[in-house]
Amino acid sequence: MFYRLSGVRHADYVSDSRIYKVPTDRNLAVFFLIIGLAAPFIIPSLYLNSYMLPWLIWTAAALGLNLVTGWAGQLHLGYAAVMAVGAYSAIHAARFGVPWEFALIIGGLASSVIGSLFAFAALRVKGLYLAITTLAMQFVMDWVLSHSPTISGGSHASLQSPTLTLLGQEITSDRAYYYVAFGWCVLVTIFMLNLKRTGLGRALVAVREKDYAAAILGVNSFYYKILAFATSSFIAGISGAILVATFFFLAAPEQFSVNVSIQVLAMVIVGGLSSIIGSYFGVALILLVPGVVNTVVASVSQWLGMQVNVETLAHIPNAVYGALIVVVLLIEPLGLGKLYGNVRDYLMVWPFDQLRK
């Protein structure tokens, strides 16, 4: 009833390969797009710039990782390192005087080159071995950043980002930052939505399911794996650069350390592998819930006037947050995206499925 199927007929291939086969899905997407565009006018600035903004940027980044891990099935533990390459290259380019539009692309390309170079060596092994090799990339990048002041920028390795300027406009207000992040996230989402109906997307899925079976079908699995790494690294690089340019305003190695890599992977897994809407949910859970739970616990204890030790107070949210992840994965091992899918499937035929019972 809510996702009405009556009257929806696919009489030709073009119609059958639409992004949204059910009108409700399309309407929902348009609805959220409008909400997203109107957000700066309806959401208080605190939530806009410290929740929505990082959420959108990290979602774009998580979608990039989802491409390589969810679609192509290659475990990647060095994703934050690739983001760092993009962030540092873009900032250095911008500091050098390159316009930001090109600086961002330079960041993306630099990430792409380094990410796929590593993949070139790493892809000689598979599965867990590949995971460890990508982890090695993370450590190499950490070492390079903490040992080369020219890259990481002087005192305590922090590199100040110049003011973001796009299309001749200086971007300095909260709204403007938000729209940059929003624009980038929408772009990546559109790309990912289209990916699954292209030959590239189908080839990646074939490689994921069984790479030598794909090879028998004439899909060059090595080529497509490299392509997946290069594309996802490109997305990572630009996301990293935008993260620094609109949120942190300076790049430091800790923003791209190994635990960040693990976090992005957690976002993808909790959200659901190869689920786009899942990435949105996963990022919200991993990135935002700790802060939200923290605020809730703090205000509840303040409201009750309990004299709780500050340390205890800090650990309760962590426990709640950990439990939340376990509960989500117990209820639906395929992640939050599948959880949404279940609801959607149920509502698709509701209430007519009740008649049979």
Partner: protein, 417 residues
């Protein structure tokens, strides 16, 4: 549960009275609010509970004695788990609640918030964390890292060693063992400059994170036989170093640590084994300091402290008291000079008017100026005698010209556009 019910009764009663407009508050003046966004659950837990507890005790004591010029101090403590994103969130949230004095007590988080604080013009307290060149008040107008930088600490350490060796370092050999990441690498440049200036040999011994594997470094130290080893290690790193020192026959009283060495590390090394270990510091250790003694007698003797008493018997508690007594002093001067309401501008002016303030013997006297937000960078060397810390020297800051050259060279590369 009984407590909870009682509390609810109080709340209900208070609301009823407030509605009737008959409540007269004991402290009807507006509070001075400090934002403490600390890492209370991840990497900085070796220090943050002590600092938070010290700040709370000090605020409690201040409020019970009339507050700061009649205004009570309010501390807002939040956890950011050492994640830059959550630190920014904490900053943005407290900023909107009217807080303009912040402390993040974590290098990655302070770094992430610094550009915002500089743009918004909010006070950033960052003693011992963040970038060292922030003591340059002409560039970092809103940042107050009162206390010695790592550069200054290293320079003071060299001056101490020079003193111990009869005033001449020619031909002497000083080893520098450090964690191989920005925290440990920071003093290297200054040590190199000083080794050229004073004519001593400098040997570098990098130790990979987290500092549990040092065997290679110490067997090299055994061969090199340095006169002193300056150590930029943290927590467990000192314990491993002490074992290696024993194994390699290096005397522990020639081991001079950065200020990050506390009673917990001493207990792990063994109180007797650690006898003689040296520590450069800007804060007096032990409980014989008047301020610590007062708080122990007023609150902990009656079991009314803000946390366990064991945390008070820790030099990081004294460090926390030092950070916040400077902050409270700045607020006092600010209100005295410019009256209420306290603003970021008057708070900044208050900080920059602090002269020779040592919190009644708690710390090295600091004089903050518009140019020097570090307060002079004085430290002294203390030695563990088996039960407590014994000062070996007086408070002093040496090689100021060399240190400031490095500070200015670094701070000029920073720019907020």
């Amino acid at each position: 549960m009984v407590n909870l019910i009682k509390h609810f009764k109080v709340v209900v009663l208070a609301t009823a009275l407030a509605a009737g407009g008959t409540v007269a508050s004991a402290q009807d003046k507006e509070p001075i609010r400090f934002g403490l966004c600390f890492d209370l659950s991840k990497s900085y837990t070796f220090i943050s509970p002590q600092v938070a507890q010290a700040a709370q005790d000090l605020a409690m004591y201040t409020n019970e004695n009339g507050g700061i010029k009649g205004h009570p101090v309010e501390l807002i403590v939040r956890d950011h788990s050492n994640e830059p994103q959550r630190g920014v969130e904490c900053y943005e949230q407290l900023k909107r609640e009217g807080v303009f004095i912040f402390n993040f007590l974590s290098t990655p988080v302070t770094n992430a918030v610094l550009p915002r604080a500089m743009k918004d013009g909010n006070i950033l307290m960052q003693s011992f964390v963040g970038r060292g060149d922030a003591v340059d008040g002409t560039v970092f107008e809103w940042v107050f890292p009162v206390g010695p930088t790592y550069w200054q600490q290293a320079a003071n350490d060299v001056a101490f060693i020079k003193n111990q060796m009869g005033g001449d370092l020619n031909g002497a050999k000083i080893g520098f063992i450090y964690l191989d990441y920005p925290f440990g690498q920071e003093p290297i440049e200054i040590l190199k400059t000083l080794s050229e200036k004073e004519g001593f040999d400098l040997e570098l011994y990098p130790v990979p994170l987290p500092g549990s594997d040092q065997s290679g470094s110490w067997s090299k130290i055994r061969r090199d036989k340095p006169d002193y080893v300056i150590s930029w290690l943290l927590a467990g790193g000192h314990v491993v170093a002490s074992k290696e020192m024993r194994r390699n026959g290096f005397p522990i009283d020639r081991y001079l640590s950065v200020n990050w060495l506390n009673e917990v590390d001493i207990a792990n090394i063994g109180e007797e084994t650690a006898k003689g270990i040296l520590r450069g510091t800007n804060v007096a250790g032990g409980q014989e300091v008047p301020m610590v003694k007062t708080l122990l007698d007023t609150y902990y003797a009656k079991g009314e402290g803000s946390g366990p008493e064991s945390l008070v018997r820790d030099v990081y508690y004294n460090t926390g008291l030092a950070i916040y007594s400077v902050g409270f002093e700045a607020a006092r001067i600010a209100i005295e000079e410019n009256g209420w309401p306290l603003t970021p501008e008057s708070m900044k002016a208050g900080y920059e008017s602090i002269k020779n303030f040592d919190a009644n013997g708690l710390m090295a006297p600091v004089t903050v100026t518009p140019k020097d937000h570090g307060g002079g960078g004085k430290t002294r060397v203390e030695q563990w005698n088996g039960t407590t810390w014994v000062p070996l020297t007086d408070w002093s800051a040496d090689y100021l010209d060399v240190v400031w050259e490095v500070i200015e060279e670094s701070s000029k590369t920073f720019s907020v556009e």
